[in-house]
């Protein structure tokens, strides 16, 4: 084949970015397109709490400067949404009505914040923290010393909670079955962990004991911006309410492609989907695990980066299986701090 191959990667998260790097190293002449919904080049989501420490210029969050993409001849297509994949013709349909051809496709679109169905009607009253824009919006909304109610409390939300407490804000955690997601802990471990959170300064509200969230309302003028009403009558107020219920994979655009999807894209241990030209990496895929005898997600920055690297190698001739790059246990250190492998970013 005289024409250089065209590798297309959907998603500029950790997986997509690592894959891009590795692909360029392994195939200097290939054409690489990197598609993302974001208006900005790659930055690490875990870094976003820094907005509360006075870092407000997005350029300081970028992992690579804009010139990197030009130097490495990576066609970075921002504000680009894929709406369909035709695996037979090997083309992508983009939302703005353009069609793109690929030789290989790596789906690294990650997961988006999951909102339980019973809270869907309150979507407009909730604030996300998954992008720079959302982070800055929250930072601007929160008054000094303001209150944040975190619903659910997955490890991403708790990481933010650490910074919020540290920067003088009040944090309330409405704890439920998503607290500490994606860790799975025993009831005793859970009690201990909640205790540590409390000692960190986070107020804990047990959602189930309070009868679940009955409604979320906008506060009246002059009062706090949000009011949470629980089933058994308790109420509390906050300036910002953050849903923190774990991630749901972003796969809707893959449905027409014919590859196997359960909640995420189902892939073999070498990250291949049921189509030879399509691989997946990161929070979007469920990998077959021989050990667990089922398809499962592997979360965490180190795992996701390893997947990106592996996908790129497997796209360029290798055929290795994924090995988890971090363990999954939650530790309490000295009875005082929580150590989670999902909080390690190096």
């Amino acid at each position: 084949m005289t024409r250089p191959r065209h590798h297309v990667i959907i998603g500029t998260g950790v997986a997509g970015n690592q894959a891009t790097r590795t692909l360029r190293q392994r195939e200097p002449d290939a054409r690489i397109s990197l598609l993302t919904l974001s208006a900005l080049p790659f930055y690490n989501r875990y870094d976003l709490p820094r907005v509360f420490r006075g870092v407000h210029d997005w350029r300081e969050f970028l992992v690579d400067p804009p010139s990197y993409y030009e130097d490495q001849r990576i066609e970075l297509r921002r504000c680009t949404q894929v709406v369909n994949v035709d695996a037979q013709r090997k083309t992508l349909a983009l939302e703005h009505n353009e069609t793109l051809s690929y030789d290989t496709l790596l789906v690294a679109s990650g997961g988006r914040a999951y909102l339980p169905e019973e809270l869907s009607e309150y979507r407009d009253l909730l604030d996300g923290f998954t992008s720079f824009e959302q982070a800055m919006t929250m930072q601007r909304k929160l008054p000094a010393g303001g209150a944040v109610a975190i619903l659910g409390g997955d490890m991403i939300g708790l990481d933010l909670a650490r910074t919020l407490v540290d920067t003088g804000h009040r944090v309330m955690l409405v704890a439920g079955k998503h607290t500490f997601w994606p860790h799975v802990e025993t009831p005793e471990q859970r009690q201990a962990l909640l205790g540590v959170l409390q000692s960190m300064g986070i107020e804990i509200i047990d959602a189930e004991a309070q009868g679940g969230i009955a409604s979320i309302q906008a506060g009246a003028r002059g009062f706090a911006a949000r009011r949470l009403v629980f089933g058994k009558g308790r109420e509390c107020t906050a300036d910002v309410v953050l849903p923190s219920f774990g991630l749901a994979p972003a796969v809707e655009f893959m449905i027409g492609s014919g590859v196997a999807i359960e909640r995420g894209l189902l892939v073999s241990p070498s990250l291949r989907t049921t189509d030879d030209s399509i691989l997946a990496a990161g929070d979007v895929c469920q990998i077959w695990s021989e050990a667990d005898n089922r398809y499962r997600f592997f979360f965490g920055w180190k795992n996701v980066r390893a997947m990106g690297e592996l996908a790129a190698r497997n796209l360029t001739g290798d055929d290795e299986a994924f090995e988890p790059a971090q363990d999954e246990t939650l530790h309490i250190h000295d009875g005082m701090t929580i150590h989670s492998p999902f909080w390690e970013y190096a």
């Binding site: 080049p41 921002r78 703005h96 720079f132």
Partner: protein, 591 residues
Amino acid sequence: MKTDVQIEICGSAGEGTIAAGDILRNALAEAGYRIISFDAYPAEIRGFGKCVARLRATTEQAYSLKEKADVLVCLNDEHGVAHVGDVRDYGAVIYEAKSLAALPEGAHVSAHLRPAQIPYPLQIRELSERATGATRSRNLVVLGYLAGLYALAREPFLRIIEAKFKGKGEGARMQRSAFAAGFAAGAATFKLDLVAFGKPVQGQHSVMLNGNAAVAQGCLDAGIDNFFGYPITPATTIMEKLALEMPRHGKRLVQTEDEISAIASTIGAGYTGARAATATSGPGLALMSEMLGLGIMAEVPAVVFVSQRGGPSTGIPTKTEQSDLNMAIYGSPGDAPRIVIAPTNVEGCYRCAGKAFEMAERYQTPVIVLLDLYLSNRYETVVMPAKSVFEPDCDKALSKHDLGPGYKRYALTPDGVSPRALPGTAGGMHVVTGLEHNEMGRVNEGPDNHEAMSRKRHEKLRPALQLADFTHLKRFGDEGRVAIGLLAWGSTFGECLAAMFRARTDGMRCAAMKVVMLQPFPADAVAAFIDDCDVVLVPELNYQGQFAQLVQSETGRRVQRYNRVSGAPLRVEDILAQMQALHAAGNRRAA
């Protein structure tokens, strides 16, 4: 905080691109920013040509448009793709988020953005349809979006929209609606680019004018009595504006059947003592050359505005050039001296226009004011004087002693200017002819007379170089000896000045001089400037280097030339590159 934002809007002919640029610059001028703006349009009215509206809004004085835009708005993606490269890093590109027709790979604007540019996809067409039921108001939607995104005050925009669509019924309401829809979208957009508008300077009463409008205003403020004109691109709008305004002052304007008639009528009116003018471009000036000779020979005041365009012959009517200098200075049979002045910016157009009438009267001669298409169509904010700064009557005083049977209309006076009796003045009868004549005006072929009259006609103009309230030329930049000097005239000077300031910040010792009065030529001052410079560069928009020739012949000094005839204004970075090359060569010679 300083403001220096350059916005470019590109679209198809018929999409309202130019109208959008017009509203935007007027609104920003209303808000108090200084504006420089120049649009590019195709020859077709609708269909496939591309329009680009460009404007630069600043709080401090600027002299030209910048090389890179800060914000690009693409109304039509096909045309937008070619302009994405015009935007600087961390600038904004606003474009239609969704194409109606299926696009092949790489055909969308988003495929061409550089990683450091900030994309703002916007559903322009849909917003227009939702707000007004039609797609026609897309240009107002993007204006609203800009205003919302950059937190600009809405009122100036709404006032301009109201004025522009007054009397068009539903039109104004729909445009406001489209603007509001765009504004809401812009205000709701998270701003990621590094473009910002600071607070504008308050308290200055400035108006937005382009060169031609400034000329027209200058004529009005100088009390123009008559205008005779024949339409020709790019001078036509002078006549259009005067046609609107002059009747309100009780004055008269006639569209003649051709340029010859126009100049003839102008000279005829000038003969009666009226302040009269005409406006044309290169091809028209050629037609006028014989009549001009009559005006010069008969010593009649007349003002001719010439806006140069691409030549020769019919040339390129919609592109700019500076190639009529020779014809303006020399065009006419015989030794036919006249005053030629060339403003370098819009405010200069105003002043030169008014001053031209003063000079024409004072020196009893046709005065040619040279503009070009770029200057004629370039908008700038100009601080207008509260009342007229032009003298209403500059005629040489006529005393009783001058009049009578021996009245000498063409008396050989020390300063060369003779007392002029207007037709109908008792005791002021005289003969007027295009043949050589004596002091009484009667035909005379004698050798001494011709020498004396030739001398008179030439020497009477020299004092124009000493006019107190006129800037004949001006030097900018480093004082004393410099490495590189730029010498330029007309609209080119803006870019030269910008290039010179850039070179200075890069550490080069340099200066720039603009020459406004081209005839009579200020040879001494220009020579002195050239002597101060190691090398002088003369950039101009013509192939033959007409100004460089003039400078060399008048001063006896040599200069370097930089000639372009691309139809577009010179680019600052190209002039800068020339300067740097000369500087480097100079350094090598020295080494």
